[in-house]
Symmetry: C2
Subunit: 148 residues, 2 copies
């Protein structure tokens, strides 16, 4: 059998590079980590700090500081939950939303370009495979905790 790890290692590295490309929108310069955070906030509805940090597999203290920066940059807003004032709800500001959406659009465009190098059939297969893989990894006992 072929070396499976090799395949995945290369793929992951490539995808990492792809992601790196996406991190400058207009004037703003966004780090890779910040881009991941914005991505989460774009999809989740007013999550707490812990929820997002856990989803990203980040240490909560590092995350806390990253959020402080994003708030300072005017991309994220943080407001205490009225029920439980220990918890902060995170959301994107309009500017943060614009940037996150731009990055998302750019990534999708890049992916479309990648897929343009395959047939429609292959594309369907690849997408199906990634879904399968995500599903299988989520079931794994050994890997990928903290779970997404």
């Amino acid at each position: 059998m072929e070396n499976v790890r090799e395949l995945f290692q290369v793929m992951t590295r490539r995808f990492g590079l792809l992601n790196k490309n996406c991190c400058q929108v207009g004037g703003s310069e966004v780090s890779m980590v910040q881009s991941h955070i914005l991505y989460e906030l774009l999809r989740k509805d007013n999550p707490s700090m812990q929820q997002v940090a856990e989803n990203l597999g980040m240490d909560i203290t590092t995350f806390s500081r990253q959020i402080q920066n994003l708030v300072k940059q005017g991309l994220v807003s943080k407001s205490p939950l009225s029920n439980d004032r220990r918890v902060y709800q995170l959301s994107l500001t309009p500017q943060g939303n614009y940037i996150a959406a731009s990055i998302d659009a750019q990534m999708n465009q890049y992916l479309a370009e990648v897929f343009s190098n395959m047939s429609e059939f292959e594309k369907e297969m690849v997408i199906k495979s990634v879904k399968l893989l995500n599903n299988a990894m989520s079931k794994s006992t050994v890997c990928c905790k903290p779970l997404i």
Copy 2:
């Protein structure tokens, strides 16, 4: 159509977490970046600094320092090329080789566990898809330079 980026983002994140798990072998603690470097050295035959740095998409100065650490830790050896003494050939020491091979084995074991959650047919499809994807990304004009 489903959100393709979402799928890839999640997959990449999970694979990143998977990789993180692999970075302690026996007593030695190896960082993620170091593990990527060891991986390259395990496969390539006496590459130069630039070659590896480029393959990994790393800045050469950062790479230089990472190699210094690995040499200090006794995992990598660095010897000037006789033809051209500007160039250094990199290779794994026996201990470095042991660690790189251990990480590789562990990763392959993790992957096997992930694949155990699918049918043989699905597994074949997924592997084929990753190959396709790597191939398509290598053809892309927009992404993934420095090329691997």
